[in-house]
Amino acid sequence: MKNQWINLFAGTLRVKVTGKGIERFLNQLTRSGILIWNVKRHGTEAVTFQINVQDAKKLRVPARSSQCKIRFIERAGGPFFLRRIWTNSGFLVGAAAFLIILMFLSNMVWGIEIRGASPAIEHQIRKELADMGVKHGSLQFTIKNVDLLQRDLTDKVKEITWVGVELRGTTYHFQVVEKEEPEKQQAYTPQHLVAAKKATIVKMFVEEGESMVQLNDVVQPGQLLVSGLIGKEEEKKPVPARGEILGETWYKSLVELPLQSTFQVFSGNEARKYQLQLGKLSIPVWGFKKHGYNEFESEESMHQIKFLKWKLPIAFVAKTIREREEVTRTYTKAEAIKSARELARKDIKKIIPEDAKIKGEEILHQSIKNGKVRMSIHFQIIEDIAKGQPIIQGDEE
């Protein structure tokens, strides 16, 4: 016996036969190779049975020769089912629209939760986020991924040390750690001020304590600058010495700069490609052109589509391909020397404290050899050289 499922796919018909000699008619049908099933008798003159759709035409010839009338009373399976769906397409459209809307809403931002920030900072973060496109009702595809968001936020909002960004479902969670501005340490404990490094004193401003050195003195590291013991010989009172002692210090910097150097730079040409990724299969959606760059770097950002709480194995991938170029820079001697000096200055600025100033610089040595400029530069820096040193009162009772 054939599997009825296959018949159902192709479509079946229910036939009603009325008249006389129905049995003879049925015999005729079976002999001509038509598959009949579910034969039922209804009263004395009617029989119903089912046949395949493709056998419907073969029914005509035997029917004419017999004294029976045939009527098709029911259609079921494959093509008829499809037709019914088509006529009731409203339901189908509704169901599809429902799923699409649900998917659309699953990929929206529905909540932004900021924890650990004071109201002022929170407001600022919210403003920055709104600028970045993170707000209620915006689609998650338009938002950078979580790591980038975290980096940008820490860059833009100066008051926070760290921010943890997590996307849980449709809600962004931000865990903020605020910078705790250390309060100016009040030097309440008695202390001396001593020199931190070798320097010539240029300027002195003593708030408290007794200065032990004068302008233009050369001091050695560890030398007492401002004493924290004031008063007469006998009854010296320890106080916390405070003040600013600006000294001129010297730094030497050695720089080496090749006259000719090659760089990798982006030419500014870029191509964008968008793909829809289904599992491992990726379907290009936009950007079919070949970029034709010899050297390039590509950046990919992937957005996985969510449905309610589940992540679908469908992702939207935006690929940016940037052309890279190799640029050769050649310096003339004068240019090389100039940029070497700048380089040295930059180096020095990294070493010295922020509030220090470069007073002067002097090239000690300079040579161009093997296509390289070597230069040693001497810098005069003005900086605060004072360093606190607590007064140990071990010998006092």
């Binding site: 016996m1 129905i22 002999r31 579910n38 008798r41």
Partner: protein
């Protein structure tokens, strides 16, 4: 006369050579599953069908099946599968 002779020879051959009789002698092969199903092979056509009765033509004589709520599940030129509640299976010889 010749028909009778061939019948006799066939009968004898089946008995002596141990061949399946339904093949040799064109007899119906009837399989029943309890009272609910009856499967008849080697019939020669439908004679009458109602929900209480099925009459089949055989090579020799007829087969009458009586019962209730009959439905022919499948019918092919030489096979038929009947479903319902079967009470009697009767051979009718003229």
């Amino acid at each position: 006369m010749a028909k009778k002779w061939s019948q006799l020879i066939r009968n004898w051959m089946t008995q002596k050579m141990d061949l399946p009789p339904d093949v040799m002698m064109d007899l119906p092969r009837i399989t029943m599953i309890g009272q609910i199903h009856i499967y008849i092979e080697n019939h020669r056509g439908l004679l009458a069908f109602s929900d209480k009765e099925l009459r089949l033509l055989l090579k020799q004589g007829q087969l009458l099946v009586k019962g209730k709520a009959f439905v022919i599940k499948t019918i092919l030129p030489e096979e038929i599968l009947l479903e319902g509640k079967i009470d009697q299976v009767i051979y009718i010889n003229e």
